[in-house]
């Protein structure tokens, strides 16, 4: 019959350790919204999104109540707009972003991703127009998120696109300067972007996906940390096992809920993303899990090993718990969205170089990092190139979400609010990468990508 211990544990997880489902994201294909007339295309987009996602928010809220586990965000991911826009003769896609924003508000979701382009090998006309529209698009919309894939293990690194993205990030920072360059928090540059990622800002609905589907991202750093508090001083075998068991439980809860939403909406379940996603709240930090393993402060020597163990154990536990795993799946290490990470930066325990090393073993990359507003375009491009190299060579997704906060420098802080948090401005290397970035062209795909 009833196992009292399990009931109490679950309730504690939710009440005290901030267990929640981070996001349920509906992917919607917009491929049938192409039109040679941009205006008609946008009307089709608006109609399709508002019709397909009409019941998303109320249904998720209903299931949330019945299962008693909060779902923090409801989101939508759409087909990369560069593919849709290119059918039209439009020279600028800002209007597409406005329509997406309007549709997102209409259905009551938090964020909509897919103002995106995939240019790992080269750019089409539509890709170019989209990328050039990003700064304005992100400054005139609230909920639209943008991503650009500039590299892949199969194609190598498109250094022309990397160079361009340095400029685009700076322009976005300038156009949203009144809000601490918030626009850049909604823009991510990827290597090996995945087509079914439910997390923002990088979510888009890939062309190999269903007409529409539901994916879910669980959270739960607080739950993992609490579980580890109970095994203080024990060996890493025990640590890994404890994380696996915890990941299993939280993944199962997430999958149960998304399947229920999927039944009620009649939209297929896509994947479960096993990422541990922190929030700026106390007790919901990935950095604190690493510290719980025995590090005095996140960022000190041992941090990369601790993160590698965490990331791997979360995957092992989660894979067993879910029928379909996908997305980014691993631990996120955003700076501004993680209370422990912010503290680590503030006490100079964490720097950009250590974060870069950590991205070799975790699921995302340099995420939500504020850098001085006067950082040059080429330095930003070079940081992107480094991160892409890690992704391309290691056959994993990596991303860069940097915020060159306009008008601010070292010692100051950017404040984004809500889940995006706040970020102390971090130093970048003062030496130039200008001539490196100016070369352009492509860095060829690594030899181990030729597996056929």
């Amino acid at each position: 019959m009833l196992n009292t211990k399990n009931v109490i544990e679950t309730i504690k997880m939710i009440d005290r350790y901030k267990f929640d489902i981070r996001t349920i994201t509906m992917g919607i294909s917009l491929l049938d919204c192409c039109d040679s007339d941009g205006k008609k295309s946008r009307q089709k987009i608006y109609d399709k999104i508002t019709k397909t996602a009409e019941k998303l928010v109320p249904t998720v809220e209903e299931v949330e109540k019945e299962y008693g586990i909060p779902v923090i965000n409801k989101r939508i991911a759409v087909t990369p707009i560069s593919l849709i826009g290119s059918a039209s003769s439009d020279k600028n896609y800002v209007e597409y972003a406005r329509v997406l924003d309007k549709a997102a508000s209409e259905v009551g979701i938090d964020f909509l991703g897919g103002f995106s382009a995939l240019v790992q090998k080269g750019q089409t006309k539509g890709d170019q127009i989209l990328i050039n529209s990003i700064p304005e698009a992100l400054s005139v919309t609230q909920k639209v998120c943008s991503s650009v894939n500039v590299a892949s293990t199969k194609a190598g690194i498109n250094m022309d696109a990397v160079k361009l993205m340095g400029k685009i990030i700076k322009n976005t920072a300038y156009l949203t300067k009144d809000e601490d360059s918030l626009g850049c928090a909604k823009l991510v540059v990827f290597a090996n972007a995945v087509e079914d990622n439910p997390f923002m800002a990088g979510a888009f609905h890939g062309v190999g996906e269903n007409e529409s589907c539901l994916s879910v991202g669980v959270s739960g750093p607080g739950v993992v940390k609490t579980a580890l508090e109970k095994v203080k001083g024990e060996s890493f075998d025990v640590v890994s096992d404890t994380i696996k068991k915890t990941a299993f439980k939280i993944t199962r809860a997430g999958e149960l809920m998304v399947k229920e939403v999927s039944n009620r909406l009649g939209i297929p379940f896509g994947i479960m993303d096993l990422s541990l996603a922190p929030t700026p709240e106390i007790g919901d930090s990935v950095a604190r899990i690493l510290e719980e393993m025995g590090l005095e402060s996140c960022g000190t020597h041992g941090t990369t090993a601790a993160l590698a163990l965490l990331n791997d154990a979360v995957k092992k536990g989660g894979i067993m718990a879910s029928s379909h795993v996908g997305g980014l799946s691993g631990a996120f290490i955003p700076v501004s969205e993680d209370e422990g990470m912010i503290q680590a930066v503030n006490k100079s325990s964490m720097n950009l170089e250590k974060l870069e090393a950590m991205t070799c073993v975790c699921s995302v990359g340099l995420d939500m990092i504020a850098i001085p507003g006067d950082t040059s375009e080429s330095t930003i491009s070079a940081i992107i190139a480094d991160e892409c190299a890690i992704g391309v060579i290691n056959n994993k997704s990596t991303a860069v979400r940097l915020i060159p906060v306009y008008g601010k420098g070292i010692g100051e802080e950017a404040e984004f609010g809500g889940l995006l948090g706040r970020a102390p401005i971090m130093a970048v290397n003062k030496y130039s990468s200008e001539a490196f970035v100016a070369r352009g062209g492509r860095i060829p795909a690594p030899v181990h990508s030729f597996k056929n």
Partner: protein, 89 residues
């Protein structure tokens, strides 16, 4: 559908009667009751059957919360499946 009702708060007279009245009124059958006192907090867990219930789930949830407020207890009602899925392979 079966659901788990969890009631947590300071121990008091009449807790069971308070909530069982609400449940009975809405045609909800109690299948199992378990109660413990953990760190001076009274915890009661009930497994209930909602198949014959006359009102919506959210309405029952509101009624239970309201009843809980009157005697300073926190009440939750959750689908039973959540506990089974999380702890069983």
């Amino acid at each position: 559908m079966k659901a788990v009702v969890t009631i947590i708060g300071k121990d008091n007279i009449g807790i069971i009667s308070k909530f069982s009245t609400v449940l009975a009124k809405e045609n909800v059958n109690i299948l199992d009751i378990n109660q413990t006192v953990m760190q001076e907090y009274f915890t009661m867990i009930m497994l209930v059957d909602l198949d014959m219930m006359k009102i919506k789930f959210s309405d029952l949830q509101n009624k239970l919360t309201e009843a809980g407020k009157q005697i300073s207890m926190t009440v939750r009602i959750q689908h039973e499946d959540i506990f089974n899925t999380m702890y069983e392979v």
